[in-house]
Symmetry: C2
């Protein structure tokens, strides 16, 4: 009798090999990759010549407030453009007033959607403040445990009210690192917190005490934003935290690259449009970012059109992608679908609709995401890496984005955890959603 | 025994009624709409409280060149931004060299995709020139006939090479009206054709001879584009063609609304970004457009960010939407999915992500499209109208766009023609696509 593998994926197109191959899986890891594998598999999946990719990465999402906009015919809190201060207050009220079980159920629901969409690694923010303390972090951590065989989850403790505005939130942030959070979060030190240097120092004090990485929202725009990013990079170097700090959103990168003039800090995402006549502001700052190995995440709902994605990658810096909202009170959009997000990016951003542009967008949700999460070594389709794989219903990364089909199979550690738009172990409803 | 209806849709949310109702269908038309219908239906479909809408409209697509970018790992002709003159030459070569059966098979394929996506009415352009004559129009007309119980198709004979550049194409255009085309097409009279007045006159000469409507591509930008739109409107009035002329794309509307300065005619779609300091140019021209009842279509892949959709609607003018490409040599995007297109628009355009913005985008693919196609009288969910209906997997138009789910059921003349992502009479493959 022939020897067998646990799983064999037949006829998968693998980009790194530029070839259609068979992929053998044993004990949750890739055991062999060859044009044709003679042995059989206990489970055999036919990729039909279509793309097989590593698991997709969503590097920035707020699972904890997912689905808070649903329930009505008209999405909640979507009657006008989001005002940040209003939204911060709404968020605090939501977490103070909503039953923890309900929040946990929503997180569980959308974690399943992520897996169904081929997302196998994600970093989520989880709310902390002086009122709810670490309750929300604990709810998200409970779902992480329930999904530990399907989805890798990093949790950022996120004091959204601002540690400069809500005094108790710094304590909650410290406590969160004991309650399951992996990273220290924060936002807008110069504007919302009103003290750039002091806020950044506090973030690093807490992070270094807990030996935790840092991932902070920097919405600040124009010169203010660039100054904040630079200050963050300098603090990173001072603290010996190179490669451990992420600036999420970092709209100012786009402003600096496109020469947007003026100091327009504190605005919500979106695009500021105009091109001023100042010189490119990005060059200088990039050296500091490089020295700090500062990492960046952009999110499709708010990526400015001029975000210099290629330039950041070309400089050797990590820039990944997150879907951010999942129908929540900050934005009614969001299906935890990394590929759908790249379809939007390809039609929204300047210069990413071509084949090379699409390849660049694909990196955002694969290799760049893996680097951001510190998984680069164990990521990719090669013998020995964990069998976290997606069999797509598309011929290539470009076609996966253009056609936006549901993955045919999603495998975590060699197990099929989702297929054709449904989680494994669940029956598709007639409508195809659970 | 109770009297019965042919079909009953139970528990459908209808926007016009702001209520969940039962919809009875007899002889292909809506027979009754009531909160609860006591009689039974030979077929009963449960909408579960989700949205039931009229069939979606795709007002501008090129079915004839659909899928011409497919077949390779890297989408064809997508290595760089489309150059119009190159693409015109590629298109001519494609139609001259590709087997007619193959073109027809592709048109048939994507017509099925349209139906699956809930699109029941569309206007397609079909290529004519001095070499292929009316061959392509005849192929598209053959598919129209094959789909006549599932999809309403209008055909625009489209002399893409330009009647001013390819002399025989004017004759082909005339012949096309006898070969199955309904409308006279064309493009860019001032730039590509090089003679604004003469080209417009020729279009109308051919149209009036055949009593056919007109739908022409106006890519021209800035002042050149505005002047062309105005000249088109004036000719419309001169010829007594009010309400029978469509300007597709009409990028200049956005340029005029945002005060883009300078004459930047002849460029490809996309967005020109900057806001000049000139006054709003749109006001004057709008009066002429209104007098002519000039109609407009915009397409998500190329809609400029500043397209004044609300303003055009508020002026009482028709502005509808088309998906334009279906993975073709002009653009690798395009899934003939009107809802997916609106998801992109909502994240790409300025000011359409809110609930009212989403409602406006929904009108583009429903009522505005019906008006453009002259179907306004027979469109909508009320007793007596044809039962061309979509049962969505979403609570409302806003949620349909945000969630981008496949429709649960698509009905044409009261028959279920597609369900859950598959055409009726076809079995879904394991991957959910045919």
């Amino acid at each position: 009798m022939d020897s067998t593998f646990d799983v064999l994926i037949r006829n998968g197109y693998v980009v790194a090999q530029e070839a259609v191959v068979d992929i053998a899986i044993d004990d949750g890891r890739i055991a062999a990759i060859r044009p044709e594998i003679a042995e059989s598999g206990d489970t055999e999946l036919d990729a039909r010549g279509d793309l097989v990719s590593p698991g997709l990465v969503d590097a920035h999402v707020h699972l904890d407030m997912a689905l808070s906009a649903t329930g009505d015919r008209r999405p909640r809190n979507n009657e006008r453009r989001t005002d940040r201060i209003d939204a911060i207050e709404r968020t605090a009220a939501y977490f103070a007033e909503t039953d923890g079980e309900e929040i946990e159920a929503r997180v569980r629901d959308v974690a399943g959607r992520a897996v169904t969409n081929g997302v196998l690694h994600l970093r989520t923010h989880a709310y902390v403040d002086s009122e709810v303390g670490t309750d929300i972090v604990e709810r998200v951590a409970a779902v992480r445990e329930a999904f530990d065989d399907r989805l890798d989850v990093e949790i950022v403790a996120f004091p959204q009210g601002g540690i400069g505005r809500d005094e108790g939130s710094a304590d909650a942030l410290r406590a969160a690192l004991d309650a399951g959070a992996d990273l220290v979060g924060g936002l807008d030190p110069a504007t919302l917190n009103g003290d750039r240097t002091g806020t950044i120092e506090t973030w690093f004090d807490i992070a270094t005490d807990g030996d935790a990485d840092v991932d902070v929202h920097i919405h600040e725009r124009g010169d203010t934003g660039t100054d904040t990013l630079r200050a963050l990079a300098e603090a990173t170097i001072d603290r010996g935290y190179e490669g451990r700090v992420t600036a999420s959103h970092a709209y100012a990168l786009a402003d600096a690259a496109t020469g947007l003039d003026g100091d327009s800090s504190g605005d919500d995402g979106g695009d500021r449009g105009g091109r001023g006549d100042r010189d490119d502001q990005l060059g200088d700052a990039m050296e500091t970012f490089t020295a700090a190995d500062l990492r960046f995440v952009t999110c499709y709902g708010s990526t400015p059109r001029g975000m210099p994605i290629r330039r950041v990658h070309d400089a050797g810096l990590v820039l990944a992608h997150g879907t951010d909202q999942v129908h929540d009170m900050w934005g009614a959009h969001g299906n935890l679908n990394a590929i759908e997000a790249m379809l939007v990016q390809s039609l929204k951003l300047d210069g990413y609709a071509t084949n090379d542009g699409l390849a660049c967008l694909w990196r955002l949700i694969t290799t760049e995401g893996a680097s951001l999460l510190g998984r680069a070594e164990d990521y990719g389709i090669e013998a020995g890496t964990p069998a976290d794989l997606v069999v797509h219903d598309a011929r290539s990364p470009q076609w996966a984005i253009l056609e936006r089909n549901d993955p045919r199979y999603v495998l975590k550690n060699g197990n099929v955890v989702a297929a054709d738009g449904s989680l494994a172990g669940t029956r598709p409803s007639p409508s195809g959603r659970e």
